[in-house]
């Protein structure tokens, strides 16, 4: 993973974040994660709930301060910037949320929601602002008549489109898509995915696509990382990861996704494996003694295809 300002838009190095739960327990949500995303590409972050994918996405936008490590977007550090730089940064990076309803002010109409970024940054005003709102709504396949509607009057798919239009309003380079389709129906999911793919081609956007659906993630992404309990267990080019999965967890995810309902041979023992060893050891069918003692590091197994597992 070379540091190349022109090639990689996003660089994440040894990022760590933990949350305090009560006085004694500490939840390590993101544990020593490094990744990079090339300009104009999509990196998919796949994992089950509680694996830390949303936390990682938010860290990458500086929504949470990281405990240690750094995030570089276009060469500048996300975490340490001041108020002014912070504002400047939000023009470069935006987010699309899973729950489009919760992420919108119910008292604002669609036009104002979409224009919020424009207003904050003072990009356009008056006639120009109205024109821009129409343009943005058109871009996501909605008519200008939606401007005066309120979020509760829209369907889930329409709301997600508004969420995308809002993110695009400030012309960002990088968008974190946090489970943008998981609350939508199958036929609407495809519409939103097509929209995201089209927009990327048109505007050269860079995406971090967070999803628990590994088949959809593979479809939209160039490279992907499989997260489990705060760590990336496997990463590489998406088609490699899905066609030749190396890590037992990736294999389990894929077999569960492809032949929904086949036995994966795992007993759910969530919470175990939090000790020194591999996070997945408690559920792994091929765990050895070593797996319980030391945590495996990400190693390059094939060219450009990394996995963290002792048995490989």
């Amino acid at each position: 993973m070379s540091v190349n300002g022109h090639e990689n838009l996003i660089e994440v190095r040894n990022l760590k974040k933990s949350f305090r739960l009560g006085r004694k327990s500490l939840l390590v949500a993101v544990d020593d994660v490094s990744l990079s995303i090339k300009k104009g590409e999509t990196y998919a972050l796949v994992g089950e709930s509680g694996s830390g994918k949303t936390t990682l996405g938010r860290l990458m936008l500086g929504i949470y301060p990281a405990d240690s490590g750094e995030v570089l977007v276009g060469g500048s550090n996300v975490c340490v910037s001041g108020k002014k730089e912070r504002l400047e940064f939000t023009r470069k990076a935006q987010m699309i949320f899973q729950d489009s309803y919760a992420s919108m002010n119910p008292r604002m109409n669609v036009g104002d929601i979409v224009a919020e970024g424009i207003d904050i940054h003072g990009i356009h005003c008056g006639q120009e602002r109205t024109g821009r709102i129409n343009e943005l709504l058109g871009l996501v396949g909605m008519g200008g008549e939606f401007k005066v509607r309120f979020p509760h009057e829209l369907s889930g798919g329409q709301r997600q489109r508004v969420g995308i239009a809002r993110a695009l309003a400030v012309e960002p380079e990088f968008i974190v898509c946090d489970e943008p389709i998981s609350s939508l129906d199958v036929s609407v999911q495809a519409q939103i995915i097509n929209l995201l793919i089209d927009l990327q081609k048109k505007k050269g956007l860079t995406y971090l696509f967070i999803s628990h659906d590994i088949t959809m993630a593979r479809h939209v992404s160039d490279s992907m990382g499989v997260m489990y309990m705060g760590r990336i267990l496997e990463t590489g080019v998406s088609s490699d990861v899905c066609r030749r999965p190396l890590h037992p967890y990736t294999r389990a995810l894929l077999s569960a996704a492809m032949l929904s309902g086949t036995e994966t041979g795992f007993e759910a023992q969530a919470g175990k494996g939090r000790g020194a060893g591999c996070r997945f050891a408690g559920r792994c069918g091929c765990a050895k003694a070593e797996c319980l003692l030391t945590a495996p590091e990400l190693r390059e197994i094939e060219k450009g295809h990394y996995a963290a597992c002792h048995i490989l």
Partner: protein
């Protein structure tokens, strides 16, 4: 095969402030002993209303089942059952698993007691033996430390464990049919696979029939013998699982199958989509409900609703295109 459940012309209406929502608009289907029937459709297509109607869980004044509807369970009309019979039906003869186990479990009761309650009610067991049977059931659904876990409350369980407990509870009364309404939707992928495996195993061991309600075609493909596709309150296609996935007839089924990326699909290629969204179920729909989103819509589609056309053994679909194909056959 013995027919367990027969539903004819089921119509369900919900009364809401915005108007009367006709959630189910004439559904006919049956369920035989030992088989799994999957009812697949998007949200709001009426699949849950069908399940609730079978359990007689739709009650005035919030909603009603129209008088012309008929639901027969083992030859008895469910809609004419009295309170006592209904009690026996719910949880006894028909077990139900809901999507969200947290809201369907009693938060103030220990898991073991909740399962035992069902046993005491439906099998006439005393408290002590019922509780030990409950522990056994928890063991069967593969909950570790089942005796200890039986004494825990629902909030101490993870999502997957709660759904396991729900399955144990549904199986407790020795049901003839288990209705599983989106049993894995709230769960992680690997847990989903485990729960579906568990349901299949339960079915195999006890010989119960299952009605699986889901929006996920992949889950239906993995577990069901037959699949019914619902759209806007109607069943638009019925077929055996293999036939449906290999040879879909209705444009909606086809579009559903195409909208998910396959394992071999090219990265970043456009997915096939349906334009628009499902129709509003308040009021009547003129013509075929899918017409406005359909790629092969004809003038007649906007005028009249197509009836079911027989396409082969157990394969039926409701589409004017197919009625044209079958040598001028008329809609029933």
């Amino acid at each position: 095969m013995e027919r367990l459940l027969e539903v004819r012309n089921l119509k369900v209406t919900y009364h809401t402030r915005a108007g009367d929502v006709q959630a189910v608009r004439g559904a006919d289907f049956h369920l035989d002993r030992g088989e799994t029937l999957a009812v697949v459709g998007e949200s709001g297509c009426g699949k849950t209303a069908v399940a609730k109607a079978v359990m007689r869980l739709i009650e005035k004044p919030r909603g009603e089942i129209e008088e012309t509807s008929m639901i027969f369970f083992e030859g008895r009309n469910v809609l004419e059952m009295d309170k006592k019979e209904i009690r026996k039906l719910r949880g006894g003869e028909i077990g139900m698993i809901f999507q969200d186990p947290m809201t369907s479990l009693n938060p103030t009761m220990r898991i073991g007691d909740q399962i035992a309650e069902s046993l005491m009610l439906h099998c006439g067991m005393k408290r002590k033996p019922a509780f030990s049977r409950a522990c056994e059931l928890l063991k069967q659904v593969r909950i570790n430390d089942w005796e200890l876990m039986a004494k825990r409350y629902p909030h101490e369980f993870s999502g997957g464990m709660r759904q396991r407990a729900m399955i144990a509870m549904a199986a407790a009364g020795g049901p003839r049919i288990i209705i599983a309404d989106e049993p894995t939707t709230a769960l992680d992928l690997t847990i989903q696979a485990e729960i579906m495996g568990l349901l299949r195993e339960l079915k195999k061991n006890t010989g119960t029939s299952m009605m699986l309600i889901t929006h996920d075609l992949a889950i239906a493909a993995g577990s069901a013998d037959r699949v019914h596709i619902m759209y806007a309150g109607r069943i638009v296609e019925k077929a055996e699982t293999k036939e449906l996935f290999g040879n879909p007839a209705h444009p909606y089924t086809e579009a559903l199958l195409n909208s998910a990326p396959g394992p071999g699909s090219e990265s970043k290629s456009r997915l096939a989509t349906m334009a628009g969204s499902p129709p509003d179920l308040i009021g009547t729909i003129r013509g075929c409900a899918f017409a406005k989103r359909c790629g092969s819509c004809m003038p007649i589609c906007l005028e009249k609703n197509p009836g079911m056309v027989k396409l082969g053994a157990g394969h039926e679909a409701a589409c004017w295109k197919l009625i044209g194909d079958t040598a001028g056959g008329e809609a029933p």
